[in-house]
């Protein structure tokens, strides 16, 4: 596996700079809220439904 060139990662002419994100920016808050929502859903999958544990696998 080799170190990558910028052209393999970024669109032509693009430059990345560290910028302070605006908390009021709707695009930013949308990504953050959607991420938190998905995290909650993923962690909820760990809660085992006790009823289903008694289903018999019999075929």
């Amino acid at each position: 596996m080799k170190k990558l060139q910028i052209t393999q990662i970024l669109v032509k002419g693009a430059k990345l700079n560290a910028v302070k994100l605006d908390e009021a920016n709707r695009a930013v808050t949308k990504i953050i809220n959607a991420t938190k929502q998905r995290q909650t859903e993923v962690l909820k999958l760990k809660e085992v439904d006790q009823e289903r544990l008694r289903m018999v696998v019999q075929l």
């Binding site: 170190k3 994100l21 953050i32 959607a34 018999v56 019999q58």
Partner: protein, 515 residues
């Protein structure tokens, strides 16, 4: 000993026994499956060798538990039938078995495996080891990750074959769940030194009585708790994965809960490097109704990473899995399972029975070595936070979407991969000489077919702690330094993105390791 040319008729004849005539054999699902498997161009069986009076240790234990106590005089000896890709007669075969070890090597390279025929009615397929189709762990290939090496002894010869043992349930000592556990243990017994038991022993391990309170034998199936108990008594632990996909009717009443194919692919992809077959509980069409059935997944086929347009949704490399391969005790070994839409599985139950009805996954039972304590879902939650941070940093300037691949692996395998990475020698030495936990969760972040970052986490640690181990960056240093600055100046906003009590420690882990 008997040597026969391979044909459907001779296969049916070879599989038959005193209690099961070849007409009954031909009506079995296994015959339908095995004749297709053995005549597939990649296997291409040409000759059958029948070995009489074979002692199968596996059957012997079941025999002692049940069949020896029947009034009917069931024999304790089995028949073992072997398959070869070359054409020969009995005389030529005798010449080959007389040759010394180095002689006739080419002849034995044509060996395709064996099936033990149990001397009982109808449920005749015993211990079976058959050669797999071509397999490797590259993209776009069949990858049978749940297989092992078997040393097979035949007339004084030792032949090595890589496969996973299969047998059908006898419906007396074992139902499908027991048989799926038995196949799983065949691999785990070698890699993890767990106890390989016969089907009757596995069923006894599950409980003292059947799920309905009646006697254990004849066995009527196991529930999920009993499956986990049987796995525990063999030296492993289980993680049960729950349905994540709900189907409702027009009145919004729930009519079905299933595992989505997206979740199923994530789980199989994530745990496959450990190499223990994964038990999948499926709802299969059975006549006019449906019934629950268990199979053991031991392989998959995955397309290579592709270029996706940047998106706000998190993308997963596991979505590139096209099909699974599973031991289905009512059909055969390495049965192909296609995937359709959001939840439908194309199993032999769907494809080979009429009328065709879909199969659904209802639960996944992941057998694990007890030291693996961190679940896939814990890592996915962290990766979702990482994806959001990187998405905000790259701000649609990447040539493709970020695609994530989460897998658990042995740290020694990870170190072997690090040796192939294009890193500075000092960076490699630092990582290769660092003490690591035995198991690591590894999250690779791709752009197109390039890995840009690799995050590793301790899979044996405590969930409430910060379990980040390392970050390897493959991007140019000026991007990494900008990313580090971005993390520092957006700390207040980003540090909430880990949904974890140790959020701040995770954030500091990123800052410390992006250098």
């Amino acid at each position: 000993m008997q040597v026969l040319p391979y044909s459907e008729t001779n296969l049916a004849e070879s599989l038959s026994n005193k209690y099961t005539p070849k007409e009954v054999i031909k009506a079995k699902n296994h015959f339908t499956y095995l004749k297709d498997y053995l005549s597939h161009p990649e296997i291409n069986a040409q000759t059958i060798v029948i070995e009489e009076n074979y002692i199968s240790k596996d059957f012997l234990q079941d025999y002692a538990t049940y069949y020896s106590l029947c009034f009917e005089e069931y024999p304790k000896f089995c028949t073992r039938i072997h398959f070869f890709r070359n054409v020969f007669n009995e005389e030529e075969f005798q010449i080959q078995i007389l040759k010394n070890d180095s002689g006739g090597k080419g002849f034995w390279d044509n060996y395709l495996g064996f099936i033990v025929i149990k001397p009982i009615p109808v449920k005749i397929i015993g211990y079976t080891v058959l050669k797999t189709f071509a397999s490797n762990n590259a993209f776009n290939s069949r990858n049978f990750w749940g297989i092992r090496k078997y040393k097979i002894h035949l007339y004084g010869r030792e032949i090595e074959l890589t496969s996973l043992a299969f047998q059908e349930q006898d419906s007396v000592l074992a139902a499908c769940a027991t048989t799926a556990i038995w196949s799983m243990l065949n691999k785990a017994a070698v890699d993890f030194h767990t106890i390989l038991k016969s089907p009757s022993q596995i069923t006894k391990d599950a409980d003292n009585v059947s799920p309905d309170g009646s006697r254990l034998f004849p066995n009527k199936g196991l529930n999920l708790l009993q499956i986990c108990q049987a796995i525990l008594n063999s030296g492993l632990v289980s993680e049960i994965k729950q349905p994540d996909y709900i189907i409702t009717d027009s009145s919004n009443h729930i009519i079905g809960r299933y595992i989505s194919l997206s979740y199923l692919k994530k789980i199989i992809n994530a745990y496959s490097p450990i190499g223990i077959p994964i038990i999948l509980v499926i709802n299969v069409p059975n006549g006019i109704s449906y019934g629950l059935h268990a199979i053991a997944i031991s392989g998959y086929k995955q397309k290579s990473p592709s270029t996706l347009a940047p998106s706000s949704e998190t993308s997963w490399l596991s979505d590139n899995i096209e099909k699974f391969y599973a031991h289905d005790d009512q059909w055969g070994p390495f049965a192909r399972i296609g995937l359709k839409d959001d939840i439908e599985l194309l199993t032999p139950w769907t494809l080979l029975l009429s009328p065709s009805k879909p199969t659904y996954a209802t639960n996944i039972v992941v057998p694990l070595y007890p030291k693996i304590r961190i679940s896939y879902e814990d890592i996915e939650a962290i990766v979702l936070g990482l994806d959001a941070i990187l998405t905000l940093f790259f701000n649609n300037k990447t040539v493709a979407d970020l695609v994530w691949d989460i897998k658990i692996d042995f740290s020694e395998n990870h170190k072997a991969r690090i040796r192939t990475y294009s890193l500075d020698v000092s960076e490699k030495i630092k990582r290769l000489t660092k003490n690591q936990p035995k198991y690591l969760w590894i999250a690779d972040c791709y752009i197109g077919d390039h890995i840009i970052f690799e995050f590793t986490f301790d899979a044996t640690d405590v969930r409430s702690g910060m379990i980040g181990e390392d970050i390897i960056s493959f991007v140019p240093p000026d991007i990494t330094s900008e990313l580090k600055q971005h993390l520092i100046i957006n700390k207040a906003l980003h540090s909430t993105l880990f949904h974890h009590i140790a959020s701040m420690q995770y954030y500091q882990f990123l800052i410390d390791n992006f250098s």
